[in-house]
């Protein structure tokens, strides 16, 4: 069904070559977008073009190719700035992933500042990558990690959050959209509360990047991380946004080339932002691909994309909850792109295997969120996660696949 909007899922699908894949006699139904998203032609072309015509190492090269590569790299950073609504491009650092961005903040911002008994607040629905780096720094400094509870629907308990915030709270780490439940957290209000208590906030935007327009200045986020491959861009890259003043005051995370001003054996001085945090040769071709992807994404009607994805989630929830023995996990009022569920008679892994035989890719397991699973009393869930190219027909295929699971497992 084509609706009269500027966003056409049929047209979008044609931009993703992999979506034409057939598995045996069945079309691929890719519903594992929260793990990684597929790549549009525009991304593949930009990278291919870069490798064919402009490949050279960036910065300091006086020759033609190096200047071209540097220009494309810097342009991509400016595109990232626009995507995040940052004030300055040099507040947007390229990392090797969302995880590295969080570790960078934990080690470079938090470690020198935290004192014994200082507190780090993290929601119970954080991905392990926004828990473990803080546990490491807590061990190094004597600080304490405190979980912010969630309710049975998978929403942060805001009253408990208010009570947990105190003058010892130095860091608050929050996931923008939960990868296991799809909950969209009210981060703008939570950031304001944290600031009022004197804490600095890191937002894990791994799942938000592909689904929500982001404006770090409006949110007043101190740090915001992205996972590029979940935003239809290449793997092996992340973005860490940090407020200029915070980044300026932080020591380098990695030492190496490109991040120094001068080096001598008596000591070295460091480059300014962003180079201070980008030691070594970055993934230049990947960054060029990222820039092209974000431009493409920003040119779409993001509101239409959001509406389309919300409709898929609603439709999936309706069809799945109509199947006896299926229970949805995570019923937050504000949700995006993710439907987690369990079945009475079949373990999530078996659900995943049966769906795979139908050509349907979902994920089964704890989704790197063991505290969430424990809190909600399930060992694992089956998770269908949507991208802008998914269709109602694919949601129906998912529901038929789940019926197959029932046929086998009863």
């Amino acid at each position: 069904m084509v609706t009269a909007t500027s966003f056409s899922v049929e047209a979008i699908r044609k931009e993703f070559p992999i979506l034409a894949t057939r598995l045996g006699d069945k079309p691929l139904v890719y519903l594992d977008n929260a793990a990684t998203a597929q790549k549009p032609q525009v991304t593949l072309d930009a990278m291919d073009e870069f490798w064919r015509t402009s490949n050279a190492n960036i910065h300091r090269g006086v020759h033609h190719l190096s200047q071209m590569a540097t220009a494309q790299f810097d342009t991509a950073r400016e595109t990232v700035r626009r995507f995040l609504g940052a004030r300055h491009a040099h507040e947007c650092l390229f990392t090797k992933g969302c995880t590295e961005g969080i570790n960078l903040v934990a080690q470079s911002y938090a470690r020198p500042r935290l004192k014994p008994a200082d507190e780090i607040l993290l929601s119970t629905m954080e991905h392990h990558s926004n828990i473990v780096p803080w546990q490491l720094v807590a061990e190094q400094t004597g600080a304490i990690v405190r979980p912010i509870p969630i309710n049975d629907d998978g929403e942060i308990d805001l009253a408990a959050y208010g009570r947990l915030l105190n003058e010892r709270t130095k860091i608050v780490g929050l996931v923008h959209i939960s990868n296991s439940l799809g909950t969209i957290n009210p981060i703008k209000a939570m950031i304001a509360q944290a600031h009022a208590a004197g804490a600095v906030v890191l937002i894990d935007g791994a799942q938000a990047g592909p689904h929500l327009p982001i404006d770090v200045q409006d949110l007043d986020a101190d740090f915001y991380t992205l996972s590029c491959h979940k935003i239809y861009a290449p793997t092996g890259m992340g973005v860490l946004y940090g407020k200029e003043a915070l980044l300026e005051a932080m020591p380098p995370y990695h030492g190496g080339g490109d991040m120094i001003r001068t080096v001598s054996f008596e000591g070295s001085t460091f480059a300014g932002l962003p180079n201070k945090f980008e030691a070594g040769t970055p993934n230049v071709g990947g960054v060029v691909g990222l820039g092209a992807t974000l431009k493409w994404l920003m040119a779409l009607d993001r509101e239409e994309v959001e509406r389309h994805e919300a409709e898929l989630v609603g439709y999936a929830e309706t069809l799945l909850s109509d199947i006896p023995g299926v229970r949805l996990i995570g019923k937050a009022r504000q949700k995006a792109a993710i439907v987690s569920f369990v079945m009475d008679t079949a373990h999530p892994h078996d659900i995943g295997t049966v769906l795979d035989a139908e050509g349907i890719a979902i994920r089964a397991g704890h989704h790197c969120c063991m505290p969430v699973m424990e809190r909600l009393g399930v060992p694992a869930t089956a998770r269908a996660s949507f991208g802008l190219y998914n269709t109602r027909e694919e949601v129906e295929a998912l529901a038929r696949g789940v019926q197959k699971v029932k046929e086998i497992f009863g």
């Binding site: 008679t345 999530p348 892994h349 295997t353 035989a357 089964a364 397991g365 060992p379 086998i408 009863g410």
Partner: protein, 149 residues
Amino acid sequence: MSFDLRELYQEIILDHYRHPRNQREPERATAHSEGHNPLCGDKITVSVRTENGQLAEVGYHASGCAISVASASLMSEAVKGKPLGEVERLCKEFQGAVTSPDGGEFPEMGDLNALAGVREHPVRIKCATLPWHALRAALSGVDKMVTTE
């Protein structure tokens, strides 16, 4: 259902999944071991009682997928009451058989042959071997968590 799935989810597997045999703590257990597959969260505790060189009793508590629970149940039936040497030989034979590359002949192992289908699903092989890892750990006196990783 495609042929492939029927191979994996044979009736005997589903039966053992729905009605696991010997899922209990044996009386006067002499050793325990916990097995964990950190990738999927499957967990199993295997408890044994050995007497006079025999595996007199074996029991377990399994929480996991059909393959891991059925494997634990089938394992318990296969090894219960056997001399320890034979249990060790069975463990090795089974683990070798399910982890061997596709196409190799699966040895005749009675009901355990129902698990041969996992060879076609590399990501599920660890589900089948987890209970066996835990059993071997219990028998060798390794009283700690074993994992598939």
